[in-house]
């Protein structure tokens, strides 16, 4: 049934009929059960009428940043910047949040991060260069359009902000090296969250985690993870760099300064495509 209100009204009338049947037959137990269902349906109907929305009123606001947090008062964009610097590569919001939680204090949520991203471009356009850095999307190597799923820092060279076919893998490996180094340098002080993050990232890299004969996995050894990641990186790096460098050259030639940060818009994409065709 397409309209939820219609569906509810149908439910309500079905229930009323069933209640009548049960009551007539003197079946109080069943009638009681049905009345409870009727109350639910009516409540849902009321809510729908009030809000025009399905009955999912967040009685409590979504958990936002708590007012006081572990002594850290940095603005969210600083948190993101710090996490990205640790990784040294473009990253998805989820990974940024994980890195943040593993190594830094302060509140940062994925939803906060996405609203942040919208602000950045607006702020840049109103007064370009007013801030020392901006958070911007990565750029697709072929169309130079924004890859909104990945966040980068404006101060990074274009080559670092462009995503070619191999870049997600090289970035992942590079990022893992970054995480492993951070875990390694904090030694015993590494938080459980940090160790878990490293474990999770390393588990997908060949030979990064020692498996004992019984199949038991030990805690990740940062040095070993770095070596394993590096070994795979060596396979991809040259090809990846070449793609990114070529795309960066193209971007510098054909895109304006702000496009080099926030990507080429669609009409430009079409033009580019037309040119190349």
């Amino acid at each position: 049934m397409t309209d939820p209100l219609d569906a509810l009204e149908k439910s309500i009338s079905t229930l009323r009929r069933a209640i009548r049947d049960a009551a007539t037959a003197g079946d109080t137990e069943r009638a009681g059960e049905l009345r409870a269902q009727l109350r639910r349906a009516e409540k849902a109907w009321d809510t729908l009428i009030d809000t025009g929305e399905p009955a999912t009123p967040p009685l409590w606001p979504e958990p936002q940043a708590a007012p006081v947090v572990h002594g850290s008062r940095l603005p969210a964009r600083e948190h993101v910047h710090r996490a990205l610097m640790l990784l040294g590569t473009p990253a998805a919001p989820k990974l940024i949040v994980s890195v943040h939680e593993a190594f830094f204090s302060g509140e940062l949520s994925a939803s906060k991060l996405s609203s942040l991203r919208r602000d950045e471009e607006r702020s840049y356009r109103s007064s370009p260069g007013a801030r020392p850095y901006y958070l911007c999307p990565a750029l697709a190597h072929d169309l130079l359009s924004p890859v909104r799923a990945l966040v980068t820092i404006s101060t990074w060279p274009l080559e670092q902000r462009i995503i070619g076919p191999l870049s997600q893998r090289t970035d992942f490996l590079t990022g893992t090296v970054g995480v492993a180094q951070a875990v390694g340098s904090s030694g015993e002080a590494a938080t459980p969250a940090a160790v878990r993050l490293l474990w999770r990232l390393a588990a997908t890299i060949p030979d990064a985690i020692v498996r004992s004969a019984s199949g038991l996995e030990s805690a990740p050894d940062p040095q070993r993870v770095i070596e394993a990641a590096q070994a795979e990186l060596d396979v991809h790096t040259d090809a990846d760099r070449a793609t990114r460098a070529e795309a960066a050259r193209r971007a510098r030639k054909s895109l304006s300064d702000d496009q080099q940060l926030f990507g080429s818009q669609l009409h430009n994409v079409m033009r580019l495509q037309a040119q190349r065709a």
Binding site: T14, T24, A25, T56, L216
Partner: protein
């Protein structure tokens, strides 16, 4: 499906009411069954949402997982349910009789779930629990693995035909009643009950329609209706999560109470139906041979109890090749035995077999009770012969060994010939057991002329199939080294779950 059972369905369809297909209830029904109604969360494997449990209608316990995606809450639920179920199981470990090999508990537990989906949900829960470690970073309560192993035992036992430690109530009902709908629809407890015993004041047609309306009859689980999920459950869980994150204890308690009430309302109608079904089933007399089968259930329960007391290891994840072959053999034999038991006890089931020519009944038209032959060892033995005229389309070959529900248990016979005559069949059988000797023939050892009698194939006793010795130690005696799956990779899985639900 035989012609007789198919016809029963057509009769039900025509008369718009369920019809009987057995004279007896072939499963023992415990005086104190434990009804378990498991609910799971859609889209999530082995994520329990709730369970209503209790051994009498008035004594229901509702367990709810407020956030099924949360691993800790899941195992807290498993521990609570585990406590209840193991306490129930243990209450049957009181009265033990017999010595040595024969020693066993005199009664056994019985878990009843609404449908086969309920068994699957328990199987998943069992698998989720039985390898859990009670120490280390992902420790669970002691009862959790114990519960998992017991549940696994019950689920495995339920695969075997004729057992009654764990049963779906829909299955028990359809064994006795045929409806005028499909077997698929019979899986729905409410529609099945609509045919057998529609709510007062409602006819079958209306009751059937109501049974499929999630408003009137919430599904008996394990999955809840999408309508309920989207309209009621999702918002309630969301409120719980919000209160949880905000650390607001008052709101949390309120959200929890609301969730409980919501789920109680969903599960309550099924709870009532379960007990209605149980009292309906009680009104059906129990088949004579059900007691002997129950004895084997008691033996199995006793032996697994002892194994658990000895600190036995959890059941394997998957059988070895030999283990699987042995299990299959056991299941097949049990099925043959059960079907034969039922046909022996129950004229309805016998009629089923008769209609396909696997059994026959008729009138004795010729009898030679004093027939004596020389045996291979040159002894004079009594070998009476009788000829039975039957309307049944007999398909049994000469030489088939027979038993009869109408003769003493010792009576055995063998088919000599099957000859069509007119529209009927003449079956000549030779009595090979229970007839006495030429000197002292037994009075009731041979069916008399003009008597009505039925015969069916003797399922016989068959030696357990031989399997290679490498695996021949009983599964109860595996040394730890032979059970590689108690399991190293579990720790990896536990860890994976630890970081699993982070979305």
């Amino acid at each position: 499906m035989s012609m007789v059972s198919a016809l029963a369905r057509v009769q039900a369809m025509e008369s718009m009411t369920a019809v009987k297909v057995t004279a007896f209830r072939h499963r023992r029904l415990s005086d104190r069954p434990l009804v378990v109604i498991p609910l799971t969360m859609a889209g999530e494997a082995g994520a329990p949402l709730a369970a209503m449990v209790g051994s009498s209608k008035r004594n229901a316990t509702l367990l709810v997982v407020a956030q099924p995606r949360n691993r800790d809450q899941r195992f807290a639920f498993a521990a609570d349910l585990g406590e209840l179920v193991t306490e129930y199981l243990n209450s049957f470990r009181q009265d033990r009789r017999g010595e040595g090999e024969k020693s066993r508990y005199s009664d056994a537990p019985q878990l009843l779930v609404p449908n086969t989906g309920g068994i699957k949900a328990l199987a998943d829960l069992a698998r989720m629990c039985r390898f859990r470690s009670t120490t280390g970073p992902y420790a669970v309560a002691d009862v959790v693995p114990e519960f998992g192993m017991w549940l696994t035992f019950l689920v495995e036992r339920a695969e075997q035909a004729g057992t009654c430690l764990l049963l779906p109530v829909t299955g028990m009902l359809t064994e006795h009643w045929a409806t005028g709908q499909s077997t698929l629809e019979d899986q729905n407890l409410a529609s099945l009950m609509a045919w057998i015993s529609p709510p007062p004041g409602t006819d079958v047609a209306q009751a059937m329609a109501d049974a499929e309306s999630p408003d009137i009859c919430p599904p008996a689980g394990p999955t809840t209706s999408p309508q309920f999920d989207n309209r009621d459950l999702a918002p309630a869980i969301k409120r719980f999560d919000a209160a949880h994150t905000a650390g607001d204890t008052v709101a949390l308690a309120a959200a929890q109470a609301e969730l409980r009430e919501l789920i109680a309302e969903q599960i309550q109608p099924t709870w009532r139906l379960m007990w209605d079904a149980i009292s309906l089933l009680r009104s059906v007399p129990e088949a004579p041979r059900a007691a002997a089968r129950f004895g084997r259930d008691c033996a199995a329960f006793t032996s697994y109890s002892d194994y658990r007391d000895g600190g036995g290891l959890p059941q394997r994840k998957r059988d070895t090749a030999i283990g699987a072959a042995r299990r299959l053999d056991r299941l097949e034999q049990a099925l043959v035995d059960f079907e034969s038991d039922m046909a022996f006890d129950d004229p309805f089931v016998l009629a089923d077999r008769r209609s396909v020519g696997e059994a026959f009944a008729g009138t004795v038209v010729d009898a030679d009770p004093g027939r004596v032959v020389l045996s291979d060892s040159n002894r004079r033995v009594l070998r009476p012969r009788v000829t039975i005229r039957t309307d049944d389309p007999v398909r049994l070959a000469a030489g088939t060994k027979l038993v009869s529900p109408h003769m003493p248990d010792s009576h055995k016979a063998r088919i000599v010939s099957v000859l069509p005559e007119g529209g009927t069949m003449l079956v000549t059988v030779e009595v090979t057991g229970g007839m006495g000797t030429p000197r002292t023939p037994k009075a009731d050892g041979v069916p008399a002329l003009d008597r009505h009698i039925a015969y069916l194939p003797d399922p016989g006793w068959r030696p357990a199939a031989e399997f290679p010795a490498s695996d021949s130690t009983p599964w109860t005696h595996h040394s730890p080294a032979q059970v590689p799956d108690a399991d190293a990779t579990e720790s990896e899985n536990a860890a994976a779950e630890g970081w699993g639900h982070d979305d």
